[in-house]
Symmetry: C2
Subunit: 126 residues, 2 copies
């Protein structure tokens, strides 16, 4: 049985995928994969997700250029989460132009942005 | 508006939550929270998840003793994923008795376990 066949996709055919910088351990983002996205990620060693909002495959960096080169792939004890250790090209993983998506820190019942925008999204996607 | 009110729970009332070691950056596990679990996590600064299989709140470590002390809480750009930076008590996050849940590494189309069991689950939960 191939490795993909053991993955537990949910009832909409998706599995969560965490992208982590392979050197620093920084968590870059979490997105979703369907079976095809996971298969393509393994085959190409470039992160491919499934955009639930656009309802299509999302080749990370296809618009922004900020692709993710896969160094290692893991799954968890239940085979229902994927972890990609990646090299983030361009150093920007977030569509807001920040290095990673987890920049909202809880402080006194408010989410405070703790990371600077590296590049204006208008320039990235414009 | 309180911070919890801005979180985008999915249509079953859940949000994915990643637990990461606050010092090493090691990703320990991914689980789910409903609004009550997130509220209790913030209030107690101990990780509380929602067990979808048992359909009840899961106070991490309630059986195993391996609780997670929350150091920092983040959410992502879309406010639909939670990241907990934690201190993992006992050094075992996974119910298999391993340090973390992401011990299955993809190699040649197979998942290879790369982490040793620190403590037999029969001893942890027995």
């Amino acid at each position: 049985m191939s490795a993909i066949e053991t993955i537990q996709f949910n009832d909409t055919g998706m599995v969560p995928a965490i992208a982590q910088d392979h050197i620093t351990g920084e968590i870059l983002m979490m997105a979703w994969m369907n079976k095809e996205a996971l298969s393509l990620s393994i085959e190409t060693q470039q992160a491919v997700y499934y955009s639930r909002s656009r309802q299509k495959l999302w080749f990370k960096g296809e618009e922004s250029g900020y692709s993710q080169e896969i160094i290692e792939i893991f799954t968890d004890c239940d085979h229902d989460v994927i972890l990609l250790k990646v090299k983030q090209n361009g150093g920007i993983a977030c569509h807001t132009g920040r290095a990673n998506c987890f920049f909202n820190k809880l402080e006194n019942d408010k989410w405070i942005s703790i990371a600077d925008v590296i590049k204006d999204p208008k320039e990235i996607y414009g």
